[in-house]
Symmetry: D2
Subunit: 346 residues, 4 copies
């Protein structure tokens, strides 16, 4: 059994991760760090986990934790992980960071979007962007894995085959995404109160959401040239789920056949991607799973493709992909401890 | 036009009250006090109110406000109003307090349930319990009106005819109530986050909720003897609404006819009470209105009556009843500025 | 008092319309036709309306109703109104059709999108497209008013100034919309069950939703040339509300100033349009009102404008705009019986 | 691997059962019968199950199915199972009926509450009431297992120790329950539409819900004398979950210690019952699990106990307990294929 720890374990992403690790066949959950609940049992914060994870929450001490664990997950606000991780820690412990600090390889892009200096530039070259399906060989060898954002994972997976196979006009990409409220984290703020979210729908982060440069970085790499996207997130009154509706102009000669072939070529063998063709995904189809479902339609009137991806933001969009990356890194079966289909359909 | 002010105007109860006052035919809304948003426009906090109430929020200054307004509403956490109100203020300004400080006439009961000393005992005898339908003559002359709690209003109105007409066993009363989440106020706490309330149901305040002594006080007065009730509130994943399911053993000889006659006798002429008989109320039937809907069934197997009341916790349960009380106090039509039926059924 | 009737009065759009008419200062609600509930009281189907509208539902008889009423609203599935309306009826009664039959002036477009023949071509030239803010002079004289669709109203109002002022590339328009579930009507089908909609989000009608040609017809008229749009509706787990996120490439030299000036020029005087600038609308801001709220952002990176409109699909998107059109047609104050701000903010 | 089949597999209870059986370590899912979807794949009705259960739905043929399967689950409207099951079928196949037909051992009680004749009286004595924790020895040998109702399971498990240990007044029991909307099944009716349930709360079946006699039958058996209860179900706007708030007068001398001891005596060893003491359960704590969580408070003022039970109505309240019963009957580990804690806390 591999010993694992989580720093930032009581936020929504952290707690989802804990619940997956607690049921993982090859993992011994050893350490849970918390900012706010030191000394309490994890299951007193999440009573649903009684009997499944009753560990006592400890101080957030990456130094000590990295000596007790072979893999350490960080689920912290941005800017914090990069202050904690060191070369020495990475030599003895695999770090999987669910935050944003190591996702952007170009420091100037980080500075531009996050409006702050990067405090750990020297480790950026060690970091691998942990989009499991696209980076397996690198993830398998990395000691610092930057787990992608939730919108990012959904958007990149939905668009990757179209961009990589050169089927769409790069400059025309528009990603219109919707998330459930767990995406805002377990933070006490007015905007996240039940009555402020319930029975309403809104856009936010229009033109400046920080997942934009991640998407651009990865699509640019796939395209072989700089790719700029329009990304607009929205908030829907539900707990979980992301749906990304992606628009792009088709290149000449590209139609449904080419689109379908590209998706099949890239994903037919992937156990955590479900291709739905023209029967489109709904977020509930992948709720509580690590699966990304993708469907698409070609519009002959407008010569556009509308590709729609759906995933569970806390699983494939956070804790689940972190476990998937750990599985790749440690040589476990890639689906160990992860569900690809919903156990309970509602 | 009567000048009115609100202290604590940006909480949910306060904001609902503001929206009613802003549309009231006889009121000039003159002063809005706020703890957290001084200097901002009310409509910047509640953009839905743009054009309807764009007043700038001011410091909470009851002294000054009572000189500018003829009626002042207090929507504050318990224990605060009783520190602010004075005899002098009451001489020049009608105070309608939506908090708990002046609801209980027996100071020892207050101390027992609120675990704190009452700081304004000398004014308690001036206060009238503002349950409009039951206290009209007193409200019409009072300068200090203690607006009842939301659960309280629903429970007392539902049970009053049964208790007053001596149709049920006083010791058998059980009130099982459910509220929407606005009842918890606009307070930044984990329990009120969307994802903590959504898709779940729970009881809280079991055996010790502070609305219990209010209900007992008023039912005791109606019964002519001390009446103890079992009151259990629950939280449902919706914004608004309270439903109280009230159980009591029938006295000998009492059946459906007597129950129906009692409700008709007490409420047939009330414009804000809708008697539904055995077709029972749902909270949506009274959402966004000042109406309390009441239905009932007699169970011949168990010799109990199950009486069910429903109201909108922010209107009849808070701001609406406050306006109703103001209307009574100032001699306006009792329904001025208040809706008794839903304009929009969903 | 003008006598009004509604055919199809128990669906969601019809019921919303009834509730507005029942409270309208110049209307005497005279006739309610229903397919399924003949002989029952309206308020037995919608108990929230008890005391507000207790009319008995009658057979759907447009002939008879048009003799009893001066204005008749039709809220029927598409293809039905055009079988019922005749020249004779239009001579004695103003018809406001909330359905799709008279919205498209080009019969071939109707046939293409609705996959059926149009049965009332001879009356199409009499019909005026009832988008109140854009067609006032025509509406004021029309006896057959085709009330626009919900998505349509939101999309056209949001884009009209940008298209008419020639600020955006016509071929680049993408409209990504979201609706609450009342948009699906009060129809007993699996897709609309609580548990099938709750906690999920999906796109539907991708590339072929029937509101597309309406939007194109009106934007083409504003642009002075044929305009094709990409329109994608989605379903969110809430009762009411539409949010349209509209994307378009800016023409050279166009920036925030030009965009803002165009909106001000077109809408500054409109009582039912609220311009929010870069502070964007949420559907709750206009819930239960006839207002459309519009905000926008210019993205300098992509040279696009993202304009976001929000409205209540049952009011401005259906019954409210129908009343607004009636007000225009009958010379009432345009806001008679209609709220522009929310009485209850939650 | 034991071959299993389900008749009525596409309703919510049936589908939940299918999803559990599809992932069960000792079961080969062999036959799925459907009334409405014959010839379609199960996963086309529930796309979330793609890859997990792609069986083609067959005609509902209990005769044929009982020859192909060793265990057959019936998830049918009441009155249908009793027309299908025969002695011959029971000789070759274990029947686990999720409906009501075999739950009541007294035919006259069935007739009284279901208002119809029982068509299979001769098999009633073969049937065992499948409340797993209370009937294990009988279940282990039964060929006809009557799986209890959802409210029933929650209510009986919550009250059993108090009744059996003679701690409460039998005549004082009041059960106030709340269910999510899956409890209404996947039936196309107006009452179950999203917009009719969302943002509202109601009681239904007051005094005459059919789960009442089940609860009385089992509590009477535990008490050793006839026990009548007051049972009132409510509907909350959420997909899953039942919470039962149970009230009873304490016998003399009974206090918190005796209550706690009784629960511990009965349930301390039960893997699917979580005793929470005075920290009360919420439905989300057991969502997606087979666990029943129970908490309680003693009210010294009223001398009552308030015991609160929570379960997932589709799992412990339907499909999960059916699997648990199968596990008992076939000698599998009782928790095979069943989760006792939530994998995903939200």
């Amino acid at each position: 059994m591999v010993k694992a720890g989580v720093i930032g374990s009581t936020g929504y992403a952290g707690a989802q991760l804990v619940s997956l690790l607690a049921n993982h066949p090859h993992i011994s959950l050893t350490y849970l760090g918390s900012h706010s609940y030191v000394g309490k049992r994890f299951s007193s914060i999440y009573p649903s986990m009684q009997g499944s994870c009753d560990l006592v929450l400890e101080e957030e001490d990456i130094e000590g934790a990295s000596r007790r664990c072979s893999v350490l997950f960080l689920a912290l606000p941005h800017g914090m992980a990069s202050k904690l991780v060191t070369k020495e820690i990475l030599e003895r412990c695999v770090i999987i960071d669910l935050g944003a600090d190591y996702r952007l390889s170009d420091v100037s892009v980080y500075t531009q979007w996050y409006k702050s200096e990067h405090t750990s530039q020297h480790l950026l070259q060690e970091a691998v962007y942990g989009l499991s399906e696209l980076k397996r060989p690198l993830i398998a060898k990395a000691n610092l894995i930057a787990n992608p954002g939730c919108y990012t994972t959904c958007s990149i997976l939905t668009l990757a085959p179209l961009v990589a196979e050169n089927l769409i006009e790069r400059t025309s990409i528009i990603i219109d995404s919707v998330s459930g409220v767990t995406g805002a984290g377990r933070v006490e703020r007015t905007d996240s109160l039940f009555c402020e979210c319930n029975e309403s729908f809104k856009a936010y982060g229009v033109t400046d959401h920080r997942h934009t440069p991640e998407i651009e970085q990865e699509l640019s790499a796939l395209a072989g040239q700089k790719t700029v996207v329009q990304f607009t997130p929205h908030l829907a009154p539900m707990n979980r789920g992301i749906l990304s509706t992606c628009y792009a102009n088709l290149k000449d000669g590209v139609g449904e056949d080419e689109i379908g072939a590209a998706y099949a070529k890239w994903y037919a063998e992937e156990s955590f991607i479900r291709l739905m063709g023209t029967s489109l995904p709904e977020t509930r189809f992948v709720k509580n799973t690590n699966t990304t479902a993708i469907g698409w339609k070609v519009d002959p009137r407008t010569r556009r493709v509308i590709a729609i991806g759906a995933l569970d933001n806390l699983i494939k969009g956070a804790g689940g992909q972190a476990v998937q990356n750990m599985n790749i890194r440690f040589g476990f079966a890639e689906n160990a401890g992860l569900a690809s289909t919903v156990v309970n359909p509602l």
